[in-house]
Amino acid sequence: MSIQGTKINPKYFNKTQIGFYLFLVPLSIFMLLPVVYIINQAFKPLDELFLFPPRFFVQNPTWDNFTDLFRTASSTGVPLSRYLFNTVLITVATIFFTIWISVSSGYALSKKKFKTKKLVFTINQIALMFVRTAVIIPTYFIIVRIGLNNSPLVHIIPYLAMPVSVFLVKQFIDQIPDALIEAARIDGATDFQIVMRIIVPLTKNAIATVAILTFQATWGAVEASNLYIQDETMKSFGFYLNTLAVNAGNSIAGVGIAAAAGLIMFLPNLIIFIVMQSRVMNTMAHAGIK
């Protein structure tokens, strides 16, 4: 076999690639089918939702499902905009603090010298396999005990400890030459200045990745609203849409509304990822565990 045929990341089409396309194209279509389906479903008017046999593609698209969704007031009379406001606030705050925490601890773990550095990094690496749902019950007691129950902060604080984010940022900061930091220090820069003027501009890709991962975890989050928030006005948009989708999904008339809700939860994720995908891929190139 020629070397040309074995190339990773080829620049030109080559007939050895046909086999890969034959497998990948149908698979990609299969993976995307549910997404295409929900888009069609969300824009279907009522009579098309009722159709038997069901038709996959929408014939006369309307915004009815979306307007219905926004009109359906919650049973407690909390307007939809309130849930949306809560979630935007939660998402922005969580992303900001997660970035802050990952950059500062990533910097310390990468560029600072201290005795327990290796131990701290090893512990963080083990914690990569932490599955939050596994210890949901002890976490519940801790959150209640420290007084976060029914506090708006419960949406944010418990979710800020993200070993993956710290790990990704630390691996990325490892690329920055020590000499650069040393030079800044000789010029009298404090650690805060070093982080803000050197580390942050040079780790933009990793920061963007952390932001995306945090967004994905926070935007549709329901756990905090489910377990810890009793006050209806402090629950999240994702929680509201979820209850709506579960209740509405059982009656056929609600299927369209539920699809509209699912689409609203999904689209921001997709758009942000498309915009930032090259930064994510750049970060992932350094994401290995040695």
Partner: protein, 314 residues
């Protein structure tokens, strides 16, 4: 006079160095403190508390009472649901979605690396997209597709073509639910680990491949086994750990699809659902914590296998 000046300079230098060291320690403390605090409170402490509670009988109202390994022993001897359904289900699900999904992710990433950039971007987006859809989407889409009446797409298709005469209750019948859960979990499992492996393959050193062919590698399979995988072991390991995490985090799918916990006849009951069942429905917190410990052990076991395979030996 001159000597003492030198000594004085030395003294000042030493003092400054000491001061610098002290300042450094202070700044390390402030840089790491927020994370260390949150980590201890929401990761380390819950794990420790799970271990403690697993040794107790605790119903939330009365104080936990120490009963030793009673819960753990009960899980494996007295809990017919766990032994008959939860354990086999969890093993089946986690082996197929965990290592199975992981191998699929690698295979897809490898194939994507063999084609040009433009089509690769579009198709990797299509494959990655399901991992970010979230719970609402999952419940809406898959519940309608597998819906038990003729409005469900699969049922409508089967009825239309006369494969069946009456609609199948996919999400309520034990023989289908588990397999559907596995399909949905696999569908949504191409996440961060998949991206890391794709980036790892793309960043490979081309000279290594050329050298390998000169050395006598004959086909693509040998190329993958002897060049690609050894070259990107760190990404392989990261991908494996992420696969383990997403497998067990997605344990809610069965409940989301069937709409009830426990799932119909425990068909898709996984250990995560069993924990919720005992913790939040029956309030047997000690027993639920013991189940958590079992789950943590399973996760550690899976991760250890991954480290065994891919960690660089020192």
């Amino acid at each position: 006079m001159k000597m003492s000046l030198m000594a004085r300079a030395r003294q000042i230098y030493d003092a400054k160095k000491k001061d610098h060291k002290f300042k450094d320690a202070v700044s390390v403390f402030f840089l790491l403190m927020p994370y260390a605090l949150l980590f201890s409170l929401f990761i380390a402490l819950p794990v420790a508390l799970a271990m403690y509670l697993s040794l107790t009988s605790f119903n939330v109202i009365e104080a936990p009472e120490y009963i030793g390994l009673f819960n753990i022993v009960n899980i494996f001897t007295q809990d017919p649901v766990f032994l008959r359904y939860v354990l086999p289900n969890t093993l089946k699900y986690s082996l197929i979605v965990g290592p199975g999904g992981y191998m699929l992710a690698f295979f897809l990433a490898w194939m994507l690396a063999q084609i040009q950039k433009g089509p690769r971007l579009i198709m990797s987006l299509a494959i990655y997209a399901p991992s970010m859809v979230g719970g609402v989407f999952m419940a809406v889409v898959w519940r309608t597709i597998f819906s038990g009446d003729e409005s469900g797409y699969i049922n409508a298709f089967l009825l239309d073509n006369d494969f069946i005469t009456r609609p199948i209750q996919f999400l309520q019948s034990p023989e289908y639910l588990m397999n559907i859960v596995i399909i949905v979990a696999l569908w949504s499992s191409m996440g961060v680990g998949f991206l890391a492996m794709l980036a790892g393959i793309l960043n490979g050193n081309e000279e290594l491949y050329e050298a390998a062919y000169i050395e006598g590698i004959k086909n693509k399979f040998q190329e993958v086994m002897y060049v690609t995988i050894p070259m990107m072991k760190p990404q392989m390991l990261f991908g494996a750990v992420m696969a383990v995490v997403s497998t067990f985090t997605n344990g809610y799918i069965g409940v989301a699809l069937s709409g009830s916990n426990p799932t119909p006849q425990y068909a898709a009951q996984l250990i995560t659902n069993h924990i919720d069942d005992y913790g939040f429905i029956r309030y047997e917190m000690g027993y639920a914590a013991a189940l958590s410990v079992v789950l943590l052990l399973i996760i550690i076991l899976f991760s250890r296998v991954a480290y065994r395979l891919f960690a660089e030996k020192h």
